[in-house]
């Protein structure tokens, strides 16, 4: 399932895992869109979330807060969560702030799906 309408957040599902793509700068505006999309996917029955940061260069404080909110919602609904393709600087930030205690960090989307669901997928063009 692709979703590019309305929220302008790209996402798709692999089984019961939703993959949501973060934009180049994770701030209030884009963060809230991602949060809405993650909630929508969880409400729709997804049991796991991958947030892909391959396009993301920067995450600010509001972005951190919103990601914590998504982690919170995922934990409350019993869903696992992974971040994929996070750049080095952002990994350091996530580690420093303790986000990595609550999510799996994966090299890329395929690895994230493998970790969360245990099966491989075909490469996704986006």
């Amino acid at each position: 399932m692709d979703n590019t309408n309305g929220s302008l957040v790209r996402s798709h599902c692999v089984g019961t895992t939703a993959v949501v793509y973060a934009s180049d700068y994770l701030n209030k505006l884009t963060g809230e869109k991602i949060e809405r999309e993650c909630r929508r996917q969880l409400d729709g029955g997804c049991h796991a979330l991958v947030i892909d940061f391959s396009d993301t260069k920067l995450v600010n404080s509001i972005g951190i807060s919103i990601l914590l909110g998504i982690i919170d919602v995922a934990e409350k609904s019993g869903a696992r969560i992974a971040f994929s393709e996070v750049n080095t600087q952002t990994v350091q930030l996530f580690e420093m702030l303790g986000l990595t205690r609550h999510v799996v960090l994966a090299k890329d989307e395929r690895e994230a799906l493998l970790v969360l669901t245990g099966f491989e997928t075909t490469p996704i063009v986006h």
Binding site: N60, S61, I64, S65, D72, L97, G98
Partner: protein, 419 residues
């Protein structure tokens, strides 16, 4: 990059964003919500809530994140608890510190812990507790360090000032709105009083019932056609209502004389513009030059008017407008000793006296306004209504007006050798 450097950059970024958010003029709830996100995201705190103190110790929730929005239900804060917040150390605001915790924290400890709240901080503006901020655990699971406390306190202080400033601006806007409404009411009262006064002036002259009211309306229409501002239009309307106020000091028998008055009586009657000025000048009118418009409404462009025999440029434009409105109403209303003049006759008079008695620009503006009504270009037929439905009969009315406008717009400079 060293973790400490990265933390510093992250914190500075958040402080800069917070300053921008607080200084903005956006929606209040959104400002608080964003500010709270910035605070939580700086230290990766997992939940938080902001509430402001309202009347009689009540606390009103402004924003929550990660906790239920009912968290502040039934919460209150006493004056003593507020005072305690001002004097205690920040470590006393930790919910888990049972021994030294403040009374407020102790009172709500159970509920706060249930919601995952670890820290309760007062928002303080000018030594006054204006609200409270509740914060949850750090995502890292670490305790809040002294450095973290400093960061939190600085950001909470900013948020407190932001909320306080927004509330002050709201109050200022509310008062400005109240003042605007009061001013509107005063203007309405002023206008109604002036109109009542105009009606009272007209009762002195038994032949000119409603004259001042009509002169006010004609003046307003002309000024509007000339492109005056709304305030100026209101001003000229008032001047029209009051132009004959000086008649109050003229003998009633002279005003009501059903015959041609003699020179002495005429001189007495001609006192009324100057007398009107004397009456109106001491009053602080909300519009400019009303006394002068009353004083000079019988002046003529050729200098043969009264009381001062002024010529063209010496006569205020407002007085020229009132003069035309006054004369037009006199020509188009019945008097006991004569019938009103036909419209054709009135137009002839206006043409002949433009540049002598009347300002051609003013006459042209009035003719344009009337032509718009006659042609149906404007729905509200105010002049037509004042003249009565039978007065403007005949197919030649638009032609008469068009010809007059054409003649006047090219004839202004021909009659300029006065006195």
């Amino acid at each position: 990059m060293e973790p400490s450097t990265q933390k510093l950059i992250h914190t500075f970024g958040a402080l800069a964003d917070l300053g921008q958010e607080i200084a903005g003029r956006g929606d209040f709830s959104e400002m608080v919500r964003t500010s709270m996100h910035l605070l939580l995201g700086t230290l990766a705190l997992r939940r938080g809530a902001v509430a402001e103190c309202v009347d009689e110790g009540a606390i009103r929730c402004v924003s929550v994140w990660g906790v239920g929005d009912q968290i502040f239900t039934d919460f209150s804060i006493s004056e003593a608890e507020k005072q305690e917040f001002l004097t205690r150390n920040v470590s006393d605001f930790l919910v888990s510190t049972s021994a030294s915790a403040t009374a407020f924290v102790s009172r709500y400890r159970e509920r706060l812990l249930e919601e995952g709240i670890e820290l309760v901080l007062p928002m303080i503006v000018r030594d006054e507790v204006t609200g409270v901020v509740l914060l949850g655990r750090k995502a890292s699971g670490e305790e809040v360090s002294p450095d973290d406390f400093e960061t939190i306190r600085a950001m909470v202080r900013h948020i407190g000032v932001g909320i306080h400033t927004h509330r002050l601006l709201e109050q200022v806007a509310q008062r400005a709105e109240e003042n605007r409404r009061l001013y509107e009411e005063l203007r309405t009262i002023y206008s109604a009083t002036v109109r009542a006064f105009a009606a009272a002036i007209d009762t002195k002259d038994k032949y000119t019932h409603g004259h001042s009211e009509r002169v006010g309306r004609y003046s307003e229409i002309i000024a509007r056609e000339l492109g005056w501002s709304e305030a100026e239009v209101e001003g000229i309307q008032i001047a029209g209502y009051l132009h004959d106020v000086g008649k109050l000091v003229v003998d009633r028998d002279i005003i009501n004389a059903p015959y041609n008055i003699n020179a002495k009586e005429s001189s007495e009657l001609n006192r009324h513009p100057a007398a009107g000025y004397e009456i109106l000048a001491p009053i602080n009118h909300p519009y400019a030059d009303i006394p002068l418009m009353a004083k000079y409404h019988h002046e003529r462009l050729d200098g043969r008017g009264y009381p001062d025999g002024l010529v063209d440029e010496q006569i205020p434009i407002g007085a020229k407008i009132v003069s035309l409105a006054d004369s037009f109403d006199a020509m188009t209303t019945d008097r006991p000793y004569r019938r009103r003049r036909s419209f054709e006759d009135v137009v002839r008079d206006l043409r002949e006296n433009s540049g002598k008695q009347f300002d051609p620009k003013v006459v042209a503006a009035f003719a344009r306004a009337l032509l718009k009504e006659v042609n149906g270009q404007i729905k509200e037929r105010r002049i037509t209504k004042m003249l009565g439905k039978d007065y403007l009969q005949g197919e030649n009315v638009p032609t008469l007006l068009s010809d007059l406008i054409t003649d006047l717009t090219g004839a202004g400079s021909e009659v300029r050798s006065y006195k």
